[in-house]
């Protein structure tokens, strides 16, 4: 008699823990061929708010960590992902070779962003030669809590939007790809075992149309990445809602996740702080 497999329950990832949705809801996730894969948690408005609270709580520690430390942790995430290469390739489905390539690209993307942690300030900060006896320096600082609507590409796309947000010290609440949410929860297992403090990344699975507007309107969210929103009406209403507390918004745009990313995803969620001090004896 063949052994019956022990299946995994796919839950949410909030504040470093894996709770079910407080709503008690789930939705069936199927493969591209229509086969049943799992019941993913269907997060609610309350889950969004809990996740924002967790992200806000994690912000002082994560933004206050040294850039070196954040870089080490992002590199650790890459290491942990590499170790689960086969598992992710299987979960991604499709052709085995292309799935492995996607995992490898995601690992490499994390390594690339990990290195930026202690370099972005040199590239995006300035020493300002003001016309007077003042020391004057501008440095980038993280914006705060960022809401991220992840793109459909379930692993490489997800990693490509989350890494640039957190490497600079932001914390985030991610709404995973609705049609393929399972790799996001498995990635959360990677995050949970990578020394990433709980709450820095929070992952919600569920219906984008239901969750995105709450994130867009939340007054304790400082930035909003709408990359994964395909519906222009939804993108518009989210951007309008984001205006209420002047969130920094990254608008949806077609992305080639295999292409070199550039700095834009980091700088969109950076503030610049300019410090003045008189010089004299």
């Amino acid at each position: 008699m063949s052994r019956l497999a022990v299946r995994k329950t796919y839950k949410l990832y909030i504040g470093g823990a894996f709770p079910r949705s407080e709503s008690g809801r789930s939705y069936a996730v199927t493969s591209s061929k229509g086969d049943f894969l799992a019941n993913a948690s269907r997060a609610s408005r309350k889950d969004v708010r809990d996740a924002v609270v967790a992200a806000r709580k994690a912000f002082p520690g994560w933004s206050g960590a040294t850039a070196y430390n954040r870089g080490q942790i992002l590199y650790r995430i890459a290491e942990m992902l590499e170790g689960r290469r086969a598992q992710f390739a299987e979960e991604l489905g499709g052709g085995k070779r292309s799935a492995l390539e996607a995992v490898d690209a995601a690992v490499d993307r994390l390594v690339w962003y990990a290195g930026w942690s202690d370099k972005i300030a040199s590239v995006h900060g300035t020493a300002n030669p003001v016309a007077g006896p003042y020391f004057n320096l501008s440095s980038p600082e993280p914006t705060g809590v960022v809401g991220v609507i992840a793109p459909a590409d379930p692993l490489l796309g997800l990693v490509s939007v989350v890494a640039p947000v957190i490497v600079t010290g932001n914390t985030c609440v991610v709404v995973a790809a609705e049609g393929a949410p399972l790799p996001s929860i498995t990635l959360a297992e990677v995050l949970a075992t990578s020394d990433l403090p709980g709450g820095v990344v929070n992952v919600l699975t569920g219906h984008q149309r239901e969750l995105a507007p709450w994130l867009a309107a939340h007054m304790d969210v400082n930035g909003l990445d709408l990359t994964g929103v395909d519906d222009t009406e939804l993108a518009l209403s989210c951007e309008q809602a984001a205006a209420e507390n002047l969130k920094r918004v990254l608008r949806p745009a077609a992305e080639d996740w295999r292409a070199a990313p550039g700095l834009g995803r980091m700088t969109r969620f950076l503030e610049t702080k300019t410090v003045w001090h008189p010089m004299g004896v």
């Binding site: 004057n136 920094r248 410090v275």
Partner: protein, 476 residues
């Protein structure tokens, strides 16, 4: 309580040749507006200075079309040539600096000492600074050939009319954009004199267009479908509306909005210097400053000493004729703003804070408000939360650095902050914790074209000044 009596020392206003009426500046020419002309007054006397054209939506459309047409020429021009136009403009501003300063004080109400010694030098410096960038953009870190955005629609406030124009127009032009700028309703005159300067500089027609008017004109600029970039400086309330308008259009947006800055004085600070910094922080430009240090956070142990010194210093401030070279505090810019300052100050009293002003005679005509200090202010009071945008200081106290940080950050705004202490490590620790775009340590209200300025949180986004100020006007 004045220590010295001063004889009047008025700057002559003859240098300004006021015309009875002014048109819009579109495609290099002054033209009539479609709306009913409005008057602009001297807020120190309430006398009418001139009639100004009101741009209708059609006028805005014509201005955008002119800017679009000019964009082809201007964006294709070698950066070195654009630079020379901007250098020319900077030079003419210097040549006509006194005329511009007097006109600014007449239209705005700010003391001539400030418009002459602060505003105008910074205006010229801003054009010089960005002129130099026009042919060096490939070295700015935005790629090998960063491109301009197109037509920039810019809406500016009345507190620093010409300086805000410079902050908007200089980087926009340096990067190869053309502009349609709307000055504030109550302070249009220096922008129209700037239009003349563009003519004197032989700037190609349509590169700079000035459309005067009220809120509706500004809304038409922001909403125009052929505008690629919107830049706004003003209230957070209007900033929200603009962000909503721009949503879904793909227009690039930068916003420089309100503030409620904490000016934090520790017990070890050089108190006399701190007093000067507090005065400069909130009474500079009648407190019509978005980054004004409107909340004084003083360490409890030196509260009495500091407030005594502060009140003594306020007794020496001279309020009156903005054109008098000895004047420290000029007129409130408009009747509307005066009403707002009065209302919030009355609410401050009603909510239980203690109000104090030095003995101070206000002129009979014009819009005036005395320097005012509220003590016993709680964080929940409206004068501690809302931007008064006037010469009104709210004093709160703290015991520990952590408490100072918590109180300073307890605001939806995040534009600026001040720290006064002799301890270097504490300055840097505080500077790191304060959620504000500009932190002045042992100084306040310093500005420079090389130094990026702009807010966190609801004080807006994007930076003006410095290398980072280019980003707002490039397609990056």
């Amino acid at each position: 309580m004045s220590i010295f009596e001063y004889a009047p020392a008025p700057e002559s206003r003859d240098i300004v040749d006021l015309r009875p009426s002014y048109g819009l500046f579109v495609n290099g020419e002054f033209v009539d507006g479609g709306g009913a002309p409005f008057k602009t007054v001297n807020p120190a006397t309430e006398e009418k200075l001139a009639e100004v054209a009101m741009a209708s939506a059609d006028d805005v459309d014509r201005a955008v079309q002119a800017a679009r047409k000019a964009y082809g020429v201007w964006s294709a021009m070698p950066g070195a040539e654009r630079a020379k136009y901007l250098f020319r403009i900077a030079r003419i501003i210097q040549e006509r600096a006194r005329e511009l300063a007097v006109l600014e004080s007449l239209d705005n109400g700010k003391p001539i000492r400030e418009s002459r010694d602060v505003d105008l030098p910074l205006v010229a410096a801003h054009f010089f600074y960005y002129a130099g960038w026009a042919d060096k953009l490939e070295h700015a870190g935005f790629g090998a050939d960063p491109r301009p955005l197109g037509v920039a629609g810019q809406v500016i406030p009345w507190n620093f009319p010409l300086l805000m124009l410079a902050w908007k127009i200089a980087p926009a032009l340096a990067c190869g954009n053309t502009v349609v700028l709307k000055p504030a309703e109550t302070t249009p005159l220096t922008a129209l004199l700037f239009a003349e300067i563009c003519q004197q500089a032989d700037l190609p027609p349509g590169v700079v267009n000035i459309v005067t008017g009220a809120g509706e004109t500004g809304a038409a600029v922001v909403a125009h479908p052929d505008v690629n970039k919107v830049a706004f400086t003003g209230s957070t309330e209007v900033g929200r509306i603009i962000a909503r308008t721009v949503a879904g259009t793909g227009k690039k947006l930068t916003l420089e909005l309100g503030g409620k800055a904490a000016n934090i004085v520790f017990e070890d600070a050089a108190l006399d210097q701190a007093v000067e910094g507090i005065v400069n922080g909130i009474f500079f430009n009648q407190g019509h400053v978005c980054c004004a240090g409107s909340r004084l956070l003083v360490q409890e142990s030196v509260q009495d000493e500091l407030l005594t010194a502060l009140k003594r210093r306020l007794g020496t401030l001279r309020l009156g004729d903005p054109l008098d070279k000895n004047t420290d505090i000029g007129a409130i810019n408009s009747a509307e703003q005066l009403a707002k300052i009065r209302s919030l100050s009355d609410i401050g009293e009603q909510e239980g804070a203690e109000r104090w002003s030095p003995a101070c005679e206000l002129p009979e005509r014009g819009y005036w408000f005395p320097p005012t200090v509220f003590t016993g202010v709680a964080q929940s009071h409206r004068i501690a939360r809302e931007e008064v945008f006037g010469p009104v200081l709210s004093v709160l106290t703290f015991r520990t650095p952590a408490e100072a940080v918590e109180k300073a950050n307890n605001t939806p705004y995040g534009l600026s902050a001040g720290i006064w202490t002799e301890k270097g490590s504490r300055i840097l620790w505080m500077a790191g914790k304060l959620r504000a775009g500009v932190v002045w340590a042992n100084t306040f209200n310093r500005f420079d074209p090389t130094s990026p300025f702009g807010g966190y949180k609801e004080s807006g986004y994007g930076r003006e000044g410095g290398l980072l100020g280019l980003e707002a006007y490039l397609d990056v």
